[in-house]
């Protein structure tokens, strides 16, 4: 029988101050980076605008300034242009952030490219064009759905466990999402529509992980603490579920890392968000969720 951990007795809660400190420091650092970077790199999904991914027959690196100037003259602001892929320098992504109602931004960009780069034919691989109104609605819908989901979690966990467990399971969710957002802010990765789904998945994963440990804690303290401290019982519960936690995390990471390494551009960022989320979601159970419970227990004992 192969076993990763056997009768471990790690003092997870002993590291909780350090862990919470690290998390806060990281969130602080990402906020600073967010300000320095001038906000999130919001895709046109949320901000409104037009993004086009274009593949040329020949490399276009030298013509980028001409393209930039040509589109800039069209009257919808300076475009953001970046090259995609490593090898050929013939694939670019153009993003324009303003989207006046009723104006065919895509058509205008096409004609600029046609004239600025005569002789270098191109194919449009992808177009995303979102009016400012829709962008705002998407953000609002996502926020409203999340608030209702969090309320439902609070209610369910309060009934099945205790209100203290409910609060302690919801706070780490904010932590996990903030850390994931922080990494996206630091590296200026684009926040797109699928990112919303990734965040929901992270929440689902982290919650599952927390509930499993809480369930063990509930079981171990069913007949009271019986002379043990709350910390001993909590640490014991985390250790007892440690093999399960590691196995589940590792198997989840198998598919995610494969998706990140092999996936197409659209999937890469998405897989990255999920990978970060799974790691952080696993970390937050012993280092954020259980410490909150312990702190709560000191003020208003949950079990005797």
């Amino acid at each position: 029988m192969l076993q990763i951990f056997k009768n471990t007795k790690y003092d997870f809660l002993g590291y909780s101050k350090l862990a919470i400190g690290l998390s806060l420091a990281f969130i602080g650092a990402s906020i600073i980076m967010l300000i320095l970077n001038g906000g999130f790199n919001m895709s046109v999904d949320f901000a409104g605008g037009t993004t086009m991914q274009i593949k040329f027959d020949q490399p276009v690196r030298d013509q980028l300034p001409a393209i930039r100037a040509g589109i800039g003259d069209q009257g919808f602001g300076q475009p953001e242009i970046k090259t995609i892929g490593l090898a050929d320098n013939n694939e670019i992504q153009i993003t324009v952030r303003t989207q006046p109602e009723g104006v065919d931004v895509e058509g205008a960009i096409r004609s600029v490219l046609g004239s600025a780069l005569a002789g270098n034919n191109f194919t449009v691989l992808r177009v995303e064009s979102v009016g400012p109104k829709i962008g705002g609605e998407l953000t609002r819908d996502a926020v409203i759905a999340s608030i209702f989901a969090l309320l439902a979690i609070l209610l369910y966990v309060s009934i099945r466990f205790k209100p203290s467990f409910a609060v302690a399971s919801v706070i780490p969710l904010f932590h996990d999402v903030l850390i994931t957002l922080g990494i996206f802010a630091i590296f200026r990765l684009e926040l797109t529509l699928p990112f919303v789904a990734a965040v929901l998945t992270i929440i689902g994963y982290s919650l599952n992980d927390t509930i499993v440990v809480f369930d063990r804690l509930r079981e171990n303290s069913k007949n009271g603490l019986r002379g043990r401290t709350f910390r001993e019982v909590a640490n014991g519960s985390i250790n007892q579920t440690l093999s399960r936690t590691i196995i589940t995390t590792v198997t989840s990471l198998f598919s995610l890392v494969a998706l990140y390494v092999l996936g197409s551009d659209a999937i890469k960022d998405f897989a990255l968000a999920l990978t970060i989320g799974v790691v952080v979601g696993t970390y937050s159970t012993p280092f954020i969720a259980v410490p909150i419970l312990e702190w709560w227990h000191k003020k208003w004992p949950i079990v005797k």
Partner: protein, 567 residues
């Protein structure tokens, strides 16, 4: 375990059901791209039981259109969306895109999804242009038969005027015979009798020309109730022939240049085959009137007490100019059909019963109320007063979509292989049981989606990944518990029993919380959030079944009589 036989029966039944539900999808995706395209175009109903790939995965175009109702009064605004919807639906059908999806959203938005579209620029132009509602006279049956005969002769290689005259004569003779026959049968649709005359018309030429496709054109056109109809799957070929330069020239020479063939809107079921038909009308190209003369149109029930009493009809009202031209048109063309044409599609071709003056008229016939309503919307559509703006566009080129799918599948395969290797090394025979449970879990989710013709998108894949994680977790929780129980010295049988019992509360609470979240997101979420939530809810239900029922059954029946357990 009690009722082990029954339990195995349930598992096998579920497995068989999922496989059965997935067979159409597997068959479809095993086809070549061209064959898939044919099925999408000709028999889209076959796709209702297939797991579709979202536009973000397979490529395609999604548009959100908004009707700018700011200049409309409340009354006009109310059904502006229905009118715009009718126009856009018609145009999309003309684009010939496989499986277009149209959806109304709220009171002023229409979502259009065109999977696998090749030229999104043309599509945007077609969808965005102004509506054209026209009234065109339908040509006599004799004219139509003459035109068809000329086309047939041209297509099959006979180009001499003699041949044309011959075939025209033949067509006329046949038309007469056809008319008589139709009268005898009360307008019954004896297609074989109607078509048999056409074979000799081009038959001689066909013998002389080894490359000709004898009867290719006439064989595509059938008769139904005295009207010409064409199978939906043959429409592309008919269009191609009608567009040919030599065909056009031949028709011009015969003095039939000012007319066009137009398709009807309706899909007509055929009693003897699974395919559907569309009417092929032969109309005068220059319209008698344009749609802007329509002031109002409404579906009502006939209260006249005449022979149509109680039936649905469409009343419409014309403006002053329209009333004048309508009087002229109806008096000159009594008993002819006047077709109602929106963007080159004939929606109805009522026969002019009498001279109509005064600017009020009605269209009667054997409509249902629904059909009458649809027609009244078309009549009003010609005068759509509000502009329609494209407020969101997402287009993923087919190459990009294809690339994403191939890379995604490779990544999934590698991820799955790693999980398989890990499970077998770590849990040995029990590992195989977990893998079977996970496999069944995925099958149930995919089969349920296929059964509803649901669409798999990138957010959906996120849902699937979370499901594999949670499904693995449920089984790992159980196995770790079984190991704990074994370590405490229990027998295999009681360790398995206790393992499942003790892991139950953790599995239930973790999964039920997620299901609750899933329902909330289905209720409140939109777009990608809802797609994710649907998969989550189906999947967790399946996951509870596979972990608590299937894997338990397999574990118990494999190990309960043994002294040692491979875990």
């Amino acid at each position: 375990m009690k009722n082990a036989g029954l339990r195995f029966g349930i598992v096998i039944a579920v497995l068989a059901l999922t496989v059965w539900l997935l067979v159409p999808s597997i068959q479809f995706y095993a086809l070549s791209e061209a064959e898939q395209e044919n099925i999408r175009r000709d028999t889209p109903h076959k796709l209702k039981r297939i797991l579709n790939l979202g536009l973000d995965l397979q490529g395609g175009m999604r548009l959100v259109l908004e009707i700018d109702g700011s200049k409309l009064d409340d009354d006009a605004r109310k059904d502006a969306i229905d009118r715009a919807y009718a126009i856009i639906e018609n145009r999309i059908n003309q684009l010939g895109v496989a499986e277009p999806i149209l959806q109304k959203q709220g009171r002023d938005r229409i979502i259009v999804e065109l999977p696998g579209i090749k030229d999104e620029k043309v599509a945007k132009e077609v969808i965005g242009k102004t509506a054209q509602l026209e009234f065109n006279l339908v040509r006599d049956d004799a004219d139509r038969e003459r035109a068809l005969a000329i086309i047939e002769a041209t297509v099959s290689g006979g180009k001499s005027p003699d041949d044309e005259a011959k075939s025209a004569e033949a067509a006329e003779a046949k038309d007469q015979a056809n008319q008589e026959l139709a009268d005898k049968l009360f307008g019954g649709s004896d297609t074989t009798a109607a078509d048999s005359g056409s074979a000799p018309a081009g038959g001689d030429d066909a013998l002389n020309d080894p490359f000709s496709a004898a009867g290719t054109f006439r064989s595509l056109i059938e008769m139904m109730g005295g009207m010409t109809v064409v199978k939906n799957e043959s429409r592309a070929r008919v269009n191609e022939i009608l567009r040919r330069d030599d065909v056009r020239r031949a028709l011009d020479r015969a003095g039939l240049g000012g007319n066009s063939f137009l398709w009807g809107y309706e899909d007509l079921p055929a009693s003897n085959s699974s395919s559907t038909y569309k009417y092929l009308y032969y109309v005068k190209s220059a319209p008698e009137m344009k749609g802007d003369v329509i002031k109002n149109a409404m579906a009502t029930i006939d209260q006249s007490g005449g022979m149509n009493a109680g039936r649905a009809k469409v009343d419409f009202e014309l403006n002053a100019a329209g009333a004048r031209s309508f009087t002229r048109v109806t008096s000159h063309n009594l008993h002819k059909q006047l077709s109602i044409v929106l963007d080159s599609t004939v929606y109805s071709a009522p026969r002019i019963q009498s001279r109509i003056s005064g600017g009020r008229a009605e269209i009667t016939g054997s409509f249902t109320m629904e059909e009458a309503k649809a027609l009244s919307i078309i009549l009003r559509a010609g005068a759509l007063p509000a502009p329609v703006n494209i407020i969101e566009e997402r287009t993923v080129g087919p190459s990009l979509g294809q690339d994403a799918i191939e890379k995604g599948i490779l990544a999934m395969l590698i991820g799955t292989a790693l999980i398989i290797v890990f499970m077998i090394i770590y849990y040995q025979i029990s590992g195989i049981i977990v893998l079977f449970a996970l496999f069944l879990n995925m099958l149930i989710v995919l089969a349920t989606m296929a059964a509803f013709g649901a669409t798999l998108t990138l957010p959906g894949i996120a849902g699937l990944i979370l499901l594999i994680s949670m499904g693995t977790d449920a089984n790992v929780l159980i196995f770790e518990r079984i190991r704990e129980e074994l370590a405490q010295g229990r027998t295999v049988r009681s360790a398995i029993e206790q393992g499942y019992q003790n892991a139950l509360s953790a599995i239930l609470d973790a999964n039920l919380t997620s299901i609750v979240v899933g329902f909330i997101l289905m209720w409140k979420g939109t777009g990608p959030i809802r797609g994710f939530a649907v998969i989550l809810v189906i999947g967790i239900t399946a996951s509870l079944f596979t972990a608590l029922f299937v894997s338990k059954l397999l574990m118990t029946s494999t190990f309960q009589k043994r002294a040692k357990i491979s875990i």
